[in-house]
């Protein structure tokens, strides 16, 4: 894989701008996710409404450009969606990484997150890209069972 495809402008922007990297005062659903082997460690904060919408989202934590960007792009995508929609998107993202879905049309719903499509060719970095999406799923699952 070419570095140009990995460290794209979009990814660098998200990993450095930090516009989603902050605490939310009214977060009611907080979930930590980590990759012990590489030290990525993020905490996802969601503000969920009673009717199942994700009103706001943010994250804090440390990690590589890939994990930071993937988290930030995900947050942009899920804000305003329902929890079901967000979960669905996470599933599609994970399927894309596993190359179970390859059709670009099907992936269109991921919007900017489609930029991670080729990460599956870099086994050492896959974990970085999927961390936030797994954390999101975990978070929704726990919230629902509460």
């Amino acid at each position: 894989m070419d570095l140009n495809q990995l460290y794209t402008e979009l990814i660098l922007e998200h990993s450095q701008s930090g516009h989603n990297k902050k605490h939310l005062e009214d977060a009611n659903c907080i979930e930590r996710g980590h990759n012990p082997s590489c030290g990525d460690d993020i905490t996802l904060e969601l503000v969920c409404t009673d009717d199942g919408k994700i009103k706001d989202a943010s994250f804090t934590g440390v990690g590589c450009a890939i994990s930071q960007a993937s988290t930030s792009i995900m947050i942009d995508l899920i804000k305003g969606k329902t929890k079901e929609e967000a979960e669905k998107l996470a599933d599609i993202f994970l399927s894309m990484i596993k190359k179970e879905i390859t059709d670009d049309e099907e992936l269109e719903v991921l919007e900017d997150a489609i930029v991670f499509k080729n990460i599956s060719n870099m086994p050492a970095r896959v974990k970085c890209a999927v961390l936030s999406w797994h954390t999101l799923k975990e978070s929704i699952k726990k919230k629902d069972s509460r």
Binding site: D2, L3, L6, Y7, E9, L12, E13, S15, Q16, S37, C38, G39, D40, D41, V62, G63, C64, A65, I66, M122, A124, R125, C128
Partner: protein, 412 residues
């Protein structure tokens, strides 16, 4: 000692000529594992093709040959580290297993409530986690010796941490993260004066410098074959006979027994008491070949080359304003390992980017999380040299490193 011609030496290592991402491999991850010279690979092949057998128990030709090769390798290791007797040389799977053996066998028997075990804050997990288990089981205490600003060790801190309660001092002779070489001999002397035994983790030192167990007065020494040109799956535990004699066996099964009754067993003499199951003759033969090769090159040459590379790399890294080095900045008592970080760049991204230039370095916690926390660094990048590396490789590494920040969107 032969004259040192690194280009000729590199021809002995097939992997060093591999292409990676279209570039020639620049392998700077030798602290993790080293490559193997043809001489070692040929020894392994020759063993399997001509002498392979289960040793110790065979009255047939191959069984005798395999036994002689296995015991010959043991004698070679004994010479190499200057142990008194082959009874003191136990073959293990790797340094980790050797440390576990000491912890389970010596630790569970001789550590009591209130006793203290002392390690350095820079230890590898293999020299931390087994001791955590022992102190938890025995209600004992695990204490850490911290480091100075310059990543070296102060004898005052040593004398504060090692007390009359200390029963075991276990430390790496060289840190796999910082590159610091610690004054083991002095520490051992002090520890012995307090009645503690001293375990030396030689995983990073034995491949790179002459380690003499008698000179160090080490009670135990452990190391791994794969970090010193040998195959994976073989390691060594050296222990003073007086300690090994009174320690209970660890792994149990074939070869380590004398008489087995239905309900009880008597155990074999040293060193077999600690070697259960079919021994790894291949590993021992490969390790012997690796020692042959290392001694043919000569530690004097090895150290001269490594020092040259390390000094040069440190100099080049110091020129880069956004590089922070974790470890001694001069060459006094330091080995060929350099950990560093690039401002604003995560080590994982650094590794990925230099990899596309063919440069293999390591990123992460290097199995030393307590040290990372102590240094307040979630992770670092690390280069580590062996005698087969060259100045040109250092240049390629520095070149690739200088491009990292641009790739990650920084101005320079």
């Amino acid at each position: 000692m032969i004259s040192f011609d690194v280009e000729r030496i590199r021809e002995d290592f097939p992997t060093l000529n591999e292409k990676v991402n279209g570039r020639t491999l620049v392998y700077l991850d030798n602290a993790a594992t080293t490559h193997k010279p043809k001489y070692v690979l040929d020894a392994i092949k020759d063993y399997y093709e001509r002498f392979n057998a289960n040793p110790n128990r065979g009255a047939h030709y191959l069984g005798v040959s395999a036994t002689e090769l296995y015991e010959g390798a043991r004698e070679r290791v004994r010479q190499f580290i200057n142990a008194r007797s082959t009874r003191e040389i136990i073959f293990t799977r790797n340094a980790t297993e050797a440390l576990n053996l000491i912890a389970y066998s010596y630790g569970l028997k001789y550590i009591d409530e209130g006793d203290e075990i002392v390690v350095l804050i820079s230890e590898h997990h293999s020299n931390i986690v087994p001791w955590q288990k022992i102190v938890q089981t025995k209600k004992a205490k695990l204490k850490y010796i911290y480091l100075n600003e310059d990543f070296r060790l102060d004898m005052e801190e040593v004398s504060i941490k090692i007390t009359d309660k200390t029963k075991i001092v276990s430390l790496a002779q060289m840190s796999n993260v910082l590159g610091t070489i610690y004054p083991v001999k002095k520490i051992a002397e002090y520890a012995h004066s307090k009645g503690a035994i001293v375990i030396v983790d030689g995983a990073q030192s034995v491949p790179h410098m002459k380690v003499d167990v008698l000179d160090l007065d080490a009670d135990f020494l452990v190391f791994s074959g794969h970090k010193m040109l040998g195959p994976m799956g073989i390691g060594v535990l050296y222990g003073k006979e007086e300690f090994l004699e009174k320690m209970p066996p660890f792994l149990m099964g074939g070869d380590m027994i004398e008489y087995v009754e239905e309900q009880s067993t008597t155990f074999a003499e040293l060193p077999r008491k600690f070697e259960a199951g079919t021994p790894n003759v291949e590993g021992a033969v490969g390790l012997k070949a690796a020692i042959d090769y290392i001694e043919k090159i000569g530690f004097e040459n090895i150290q001269r080359q490594e020092e040259e590379l390390t000094a040069y790399a440190l100099e080049r890294l110091k020129e880069m304003p956004y590089v922070k080095i974790y470890g001694p900045l001069d060459m006094e008592d330091r080995g060929a390992v350099i950990s560093f970080s690039l401002e604003g760049c995560h080590p994982h991204d650094v590794a990925t980017i230099v990899d596309t230039y063919g440069v293999a370095l390591r990123a992460g916690h290097h199995c030393a999380q307590p040290l990372m926390k102590y240094l307040k660094a979630p992770a670092t990048s690390r280069v580590s040299f062996y005698f087969y590396n060259t100045k040109e490789e250092v240049d390629i590494f520095i070149d690739s490193l200088s491009k990292v920040r641009k790739w990650l969107g920084y101005g320079s």
